[in-house]
Amino acid sequence: MSKKTYATAIRDVIAEEMRRDENVFVMGEDIELLGGIFGCTRDLYKEFGTDRIRNTPISEAAMIGAGVGAACAGMRPIVELMYMDFTLVAADQIINQAAKTRYIFGGKAKIPLVIRGQQGIGRGNAATHSQSLETIFMHFPGIKVACPSNAADAAGLLRTAIRDDNPVMFFEHKALYASKFEVPDDPDFCIPFGQAEIKRTGKDVTIVGSLLYVSRALEAAAELEKMGIDAEVIDPRTMVPFDMDTIIESVKKTGKLVVVHEAHKVAGWGAEVASQVVDGAFKYLDAAPIHLGAKACPLPFNIELENAVVPSVQQIVEAAKKVCYR
């Protein structure tokens, strides 16, 4: 094990996978000399050269489309987006092309493509640079979606993503890059997609959160403990495929569910989780599940406003109390 930041864990996995497989390469804006604005490719051009650590023009649709094409032609591209918000500039290439190519060609194509970058609140980047977009990419069949909440998950999930023969959207969180975590040294350390992690076991209420909301759910659980409520906290880790079984098993035990995410609440993935829990564990539920997410409002610049838009630890605590009738 080595203690590493989330950013270093990502960088190390990219380097190891590039050593292991010469078809792996990275393209993105400012990833050579600058090493990406969060340092996820820092100095890698020195080892791999600028053919494989490749600066692109500011042309997201072409970058991602070229990733799809290169993947069809036998490469394993990783496309770095400086902000995942820019997926929207290239939405056609992701949603109409990458996600559908294999299916519409009758299973003939293989698209081993990773699109990775960061999203979320925390740096005062305002409406077009602070969104949480994992939900919208879950909606379209054909793309896998990963959301690592710590450095070890980032390493294990990214390695799985790079070795996967499907397009994977890899959502990092800007507020997590400096956070440190023990990461296994094994160069084959992979976390399979579709395996949620129980971050804290508890018997009274199940709280599901991802990315930044894993630590916020754990903070809420610590508060709840003081009130005698024993919360179980679950991080799905990948959104496609989604490990519903672990959540349903947990709800069968606790009888209560709170789902929380930074993405907008309306049509957010928390609603899907609540719906499936109602389907799969209806008779175990002691209370209607509560789903928390950002208000139906763009992310404002001012920090107090930004905090007012996304769910707070206190709101998670209140929701858990409510489903526990406390």
């Binding site: 804006e29 400012d30 050579e32 000399l33 600058l34 604005i37 600066n55 692109t56 023009p57 500011i58 042309s59 997201e60 649709a61 072409a62 918000d85 820019f86 500039v89 740096r123 005062g124 980047n125 305002a126 409406a127 077009t128 640079h129 208000k295 139906a296 409002c297 763009p298 404002p300 610049f301 001012n302 920090i303 107090e304 406003l305 905090n307 007012a308 838009v309």
Partner: protein
């Protein structure tokens, strides 16, 4: 020909922009201001020489590096600085921060944090002007890097086939963040791209107020005559980092010093004005001093302004009649 009155206005605007930017940098370094702040110092001639020829009825769209365009299009320094600090008194009530300042009353359709995001919007404003036959023009400011986005190419073609009254102003400052233009861009001059759309493309020295002014004057005439768009590339240089806090390891300090010390657009313009006998150095120094005072006052205003009330956060998502 630039009138004496316009020369004075341009000189004043350039100084306002410069001192606003230096003040914003200071506030950022003192942790009084956060977020992504992209400063325009060194590029002031472009915004000033272009906006000197626009009225409040004409439109502009701007970029992430937008303070200069906003100020030249009539923004008050105090309300702009308050926006940078996220205050209720700011242009966008603290919702926007540095990257999305807009003032529709002055025809400023907004800075835009999405590279290339403003180019089609200015094109649409030009379409409205054409449909309304009101003689207005639209200007889209954008960087060299933005000329590699699809929006740039699609907008030039659209504006050309529809002969829209728009002027595309590319501020080529040599870099897109850390990437030099030659590494990301297929042509030597961004203006070469105009050929592909059948419109005039010109390259001018973007640090020379007179060169920018004249190229823009010709382009506005063409736009107003119904002959369609022009692409003007202004070659310039940003003398500060890409953002506040940029270590700038991707460029040679000597280049920065050379541009800052020998090609500063404000100093170059000042010299011409004084040499031509238009104004005395003392007159111009007084304008500079006033800009400095105004920027300081803007910072004071912003610091002393209230934060927006989180209870109002849902206001303005939709228009409510």
């Amino acid at each position: 020909m630039i009138s004496k009155e316009q020369k004075l206005w341009i000189y004043e605007i350039m100084n306002k922009i410069r001192y606003f930017e230096l003040k914003a940098l200071r506030l950022f370094e003192e942790n009084k201001l956060r977020g992504s702040v992209h400063l325009y110092a060194g590029e002031e001639a472009v915004a000033a020489a272009v906006c000197a020829q626009l009225t409040d009825d004409d439109y502009i769209t701007s970029t992430h590096r937008g303070h200069g365009h906003c100020i030249a299009k009539g923004a008050q320094l105090d309300k702009a600085m308050a926006e940078l600090m996220g205050k209720e008194t700011g242009y966008c009530k603290g919702r926007s921060g540095s990257m999305h300042i807009a003032d529709f009353t002055k025809g400023n359709l907004g800075a835009n944090a999405i590279v290339g995001g403003g180019i089609p919007i200015a094109t649409g404003a030009a379409l409205a002007a054409k449909l309304q036959k009101n003689d207005k023009v639209a200007v889209s400011f954008f960087g060299d890097g933005a000329s590699n986005e699809g929006t740039f190419h699609e907008s030039l073609n659209l504006a050309a086939v529809w002969k829209l009254p728009i002027i595309f102003i590319c501020e080529n400052n040599g870099f897109g963040i850390s990437v030099p233009v030659a590494q990301s861009t297929s042509v030597e001059n961004i203006s070469d791209r105009a050929v592909g759309y059948g419109i005039p493309g010109v390259t001018v020295d973007g640090n020379d107020v007179f060169a920018v002014y004249e190229a823009f004057e010709t382009a506005v005439k063409r736009a107003k005559a119904g002959d369609g768009p022009t692409l003007i590339e202004c070659k310039t240089y940003r003398t500060l980092g890409h953002w506040t806090g940029d270590p700038q390891t991707y460029r040679d300090k000597k280049d920065v010093e050379m541009w800052r010390d020998t090609k500063d657009p404000i100093q170059l313009f000042k010299k011409v004005l004084v040499d031509a006998g238009d104004f005395t150095a003392a007159e111009l120094d007084a304008i500079e001093e006033a800009a400095k005072v105004e920027a300081d006052a803007a910072a004071e205003f912003a610091i002393n302004s209230p934060n927006p009330d989180p209870a109002d956060v849902m206001d303005d998502v939709f228009y409510d009649a």
